[in-house]
């Protein structure tokens, strides 16, 4: 369970989060949407403790995350940009994170699923962007934590891997996990999300299912629905 209460954060003069409240009580797939700079990544990073909020509170399973680090054993996170130490091989990177974090549950299955077998001994510096992203995916799913946070997971993936990722996310949901995803690919949103959390100007503007969003805005497609929210507020 994730509770975000009255979260404020500014970077210099730029106020990104302006009293954001969000409670996620149950399992499911929650896509976090919003225009560029609306505070999606800031919200995610605040939950992870990478960004320190100016005020407000974040509770994971009822406990405040402030100055804590143990709670991160419950969270798997996949960052937007996958950039790893270039000198290490893929396998060494896996071993290192496993060493830091404790036992993995299913590295081998995931490696097989994304066809990384032949890359295990290659140096990370020599991998293509898409392959690095797959490494990133394996890293963030192998610990089998109850909360999964994915920041733009689809970047650079080929269609086959994209489908596998989608299936993987769905099966994680079936296993009772809470999954937060940010993305700009609306097809992806439509196919996987149980709920949409739409952030606009640092607060939550809309929360509900894809269907509810369409009814609310009276549009056929989710892309148009979101565009109409944006033009309404900016007009």
């Amino acid at each position: 369970m994730i509770e975000v209460k009255d979260l404020y954060k500014k970077f210099g003069k730029n106020e990104v989060l302006k009293g954001l409240n969000l409670t996620i009580e149950k399992e499911g797939i929650f896509t976090i949407l919003g225009p560029n700079g609306s505070g999606k990544t800031t919200l995610i990073k605040s939950i992870l403790g990478m960004v320190l909020p100016d005020s407000g509170e974040i509770l994971i399973n009822g406990e405040s995350v402030k100055k804590q680090w143990n709670y991160r054993f419950n969270i798997d996170y996949m960052p937007q940009i996958a950039n790893f130490p270039t000198n290490l091989s893929v396998d060494e990177l896996f071993d290192m994170i496993i060493d830091l974090r404790g036992s993995e549950k299913r590295k081998d299955d995931l490696v097989k699923l994304f066809g990384l077998g032949e890359f295990l001994n290659k140096k990370l510096g020599n991998l293509s962007g898409g392959t690095k992203q797959k490494v990133n995916i394996v890293l963030s799913f192998m610990f089998d934590s109850p909360i999964i946070i994915l920041d733009e997971p689809t970047t650079g993936l080929d269609p086959v891997s994209l489908i596998r990722l989608k299936d993987l996310i769905m099966s994680e949901k079936e296993r009772g996990k809470t999954i937060l995803i940010t993305t700009h690919i609306m097809d992806f949103v439509e196919q996987i999300s149980d709920q949409i959390v739409f952030i606009l100007e640092g607060v939550i503007y809309f929360r509900g299912t894809v269907g509810e969003l369409k009814t609310k805005t009276n549009k056929e497609s989710i892309e148009r629905a979101i565009a109409s929210i944006l033009t309404e507020t900016y007009a």
């Binding site: 970077f11 990073k45 992870l48 403790g49 990478m50 960004v51 320190l52 680090w69 143990n70 709670y71 991160r72 054993f73 969270i75 996170y77 960052p79 940009i81 996958a82 950039n83 790893f84 130490p85 000198n87 290490l88 290192m96 994170i97 060493d99 830091l100 974090r101 890293l139």
Partner: protein
């Protein structure tokens, strides 16, 4: 922290630049011994190179490592690890791998030449200790600059400026001050001014250990009186220690308050 340290250390130890750095010291040590054919003289020449070079390399490696591993640091920050341990581990990984290159690179030729059977052993050990201190200090200063500066180019610029200031400009200002106020008693002023620059401090520490302070005239005698005694030695090592600890402490303090 030890795990992060281990990985940073291995990461660096296996990079080409560590070998280049190691090979450079191997070559420098061997050539100097070969040319001078005298341990004490080789130590003096080495000192002149080392007090300028170790800070430069520490600064550059420190700043480059921090910036190039920034995304990876973000990955680590999302793991259940204390922030302090991540940054201290990375810092020590850089500083210790540089120190290892230095000690091994200079160690092999001098040991092969027979430093253990020579009277210059203590001078040599002083040299290695101060060089290690300089590496620790300047890597920590570079990490400080990198943590406080988001822009890589600016950060790199500040770091090089810091090195230039400590290695060259500080001495220039110091000297200018001595010339301008030459009518006043300046011994205490110069003693104190020396303590405020780790490079000067290291240089004087080694020079006095080598017993060539007579070359420095009256001021040399004052310095000898201070640094030459055991008390002076401990004070100056203590000051070097403070120079190392302060920026390391600030790495921890800054990183705890930073957004990533």
């Amino acid at each position: 922290m030890l795990k992060i340290l281990k990985y940073s250390f291995y990461d660096l130890i296996r990079s080409r630049w560590s070998y280049v750095y190691l090979a450079f010291y191997l070559l420098l040590g061997s050539v100097l011994l070969f040319l001078n054919n005298d341990l004490s003289k080789a130590v003096i020449t080495l000192m002149n190179v080392i007090v300028v070079l170790t800070p430069l390399i520490g600064t550059i490696f420190g700043i480059m490592y921090y910036y190039s591993s920034r995304e990876f640091t973000e990955l680590l920050l999302a793991q259940p690890i204390k922030r302090r341990n991540i940054f201290l581990g990375q810092y020590l990984g850089v500083a210790l791998s540089l120190s290892a290159s230095l000690i091994i690179g200079l160690g092999i030729p001098f040991v092969a030449y027979g430093i253990f059977y020579s009277g210059a052993i203590w001078d040599y050990i002083t040299l290695l200790i101060t060089a290690t201190f300089l590496t620790l200090i300047f890597t920590a200063l570079a990490f400080n600059i990198a943590i406080s500066t988001e822009n890589r180019i600016k950060g790199f610029g500040y770091a090089i400026l810091l090195w230039l200031f400590m290695a060259v400009i500080y001495d220039g200002i110091f000297l200018l001050g001595l010339v301008m106020f030459s009518e006043y008693p300046l011994e205490n002023f110069s003693l104190i001014a020396t303590l405020f620059n780790p490079i000067d401090l290291s240089r004087i520490l080694i020079l006095l250990k080598l017993d060539i302070s007579a070359l420095m005239g009256y001021t040399g005698a004052v310095f000898q009186k201070f640094f030459g005694t055991n008390q002076g030695l401990f004070i100056s090592l203590g000051v070097l220690f403070v120079w190392a600890i302060t920026p390391i402490w600030r790495i921890v303090a800054k990183s705890n308050k930073k957004d990533f």
